[in-house]
Symmetry: C2
Subunit: 227 residues, 2 copies
DNA sequence: CGTCTCATTGACACCCTTCAAACGAAGTGG
DNA sequence: CCACTTCGTTTGAAGGGTGTCAATGAGACG
């Protein structure tokens, strides 16, 4: 109880001021304490060039990180799903923006606590580094996708990836809009939409409303991604 | 001297067998020992899915890391210039290939030595993590480029980046071929060539042979990248 | 039921790719 | 020194995939 107040007093950020009502201080698997914070759909978690006070783990919902150009062109670098860590992909200052894709609850940890822990606990340091490595490996695959794959290949890869990462029984429920998908895959919203319909016409997927996708022919889909 | 033999005996990799004649064991700024190894133009440093025995620092020359699809489409994720570290961008197994772009000398360190050092020396661990973070930040910018920028913007960004990173007096000497540039920027060789000529016709750059580029109008060039 | 937001569909344009040929520089052998 | 080859680059013409612009359709919500 007192620890909660200490943290609250130390960290003067909107995150911690906005912490969930009644939320007590807890410990993250990474090994440091923090608090739960809620964000509603579209709300910003942190902005570009903002000093990086906190590191976050998604508890529920989805977060997108992105870069944006002066004229509005946006590239989403990653979607973070429940259980995943973000905000670590930078040094002292954020070079990305982060926003809640859906209503989201995150676990906010103070960066200082993490680096302090890493300074003494090698296993923790290794874990932290592993998070960054994971992001890097995914971004390398993402570069291949953005630089060299067709719209069909991009979308199929995306759907397969989501099916793997989201709790999917018979169909995937996409948490993000077509615009988000487009900005993630380096396409336009129209191309995403058209490609989605075409995949349906080809019998590869089945759409039940625009957010619900059933992967109808996994073999054919995997052939496209492997190509 | 004896340390050199120990390392040579421990590490059974082509890298260490191929070490430069007469090269003694030295210590890298990262804090571990290793040996110099030479690669000639086009030679592979490591392949995809090869176990990651070593981490490298470029001493002279240039190295490219890339991913390649079954049908030959290639995406270069990064060029590593003199002084830069590569091979760390992965966990235990490489997910990229690395090749020498020019005749290249690298400093090869055993991954085990690095992780062992990181386990005791926090500053070293922090440095290692910093290398990965640097790669991640660059790959995020690269994603924005690949996903959202035009051929002109891509090439201008590339030239500015090279001018900044390479020792450039009045003109930049590009160490890589048009094909490499194309595969780095997610374009075709023809588009790179055409865009290059157009930039010259517009008076933004000046070509003296295809490898030598003078940035004629820095202000205009920076306007394009900032757009 | 009306409004709002988002998704889909259509027509058209354009940037980049593809295919092909010419050009140029570097190296080799006569 | 000069043909000749080879490899990489440049240039041209044509086509296609994706973007742009615009209109229609479909849910969600009050």
């Amino acid at each position: 109880m007192s620890a909660a107040y200490i943290i609250e007093a130390e960290v003067i950020t909107p995150d911690f001021r906005r912490r969930s009502e009644g939320g007590l201080t807890e410990r993250d698997p990474l090994g440091v304490e923090g608090v739960r914070v809620d964000y509603c759909r579209g709300e910003e978690v942190f902005g570009e060039e903002e000093s990086a006070e906190c590191v976050y783990r998604v508890l529920s919902g989805v977060v997108r990180t992105y870069k944006i150009l002066a004229d509005g062109r946006r590239q989403i670098s990653e979607f973070y799903l429940a259980g995943e860590v973000f905000g670590l992909e930078t040094a002292d200052q954020h070079v990305l923006c982060a926003e809640a894709v859906t209503d989201t609850q995150v676990f906010a940890m103070r960066r200082k606590s993490l680096t302090a822990l890493a300074a003494t606990d090698c296993a923790a340091a290794r874990k932290l580094w592993g998070v960054t490595l994971h992001d890097l490996r995914r971004s390398q695959e993402h570069m291949l996708l953005l630089g060299r794959k067709s719209a069909h290949e991009r979308l199929v890869w995306f759907l397969m990836d989501m099916a793997m990462r989201l709790p999917a029984d018979r169909e995937v429920t996409l948490p993000m809009s077509r615009q988000d998908i487009a900005d993630y895959l380096g396409l336009t919203i129209e191309t995403v939409s058209r490609t989605m319909t075409q995949l349906q016409e080809d019998g590869l997927i089945e759409l039940h409303g625009c957010r619900h996708v059933a992967l109808r022919d996994r073999v054919a889909l995997e052939l496209i991604t492997a190509a």
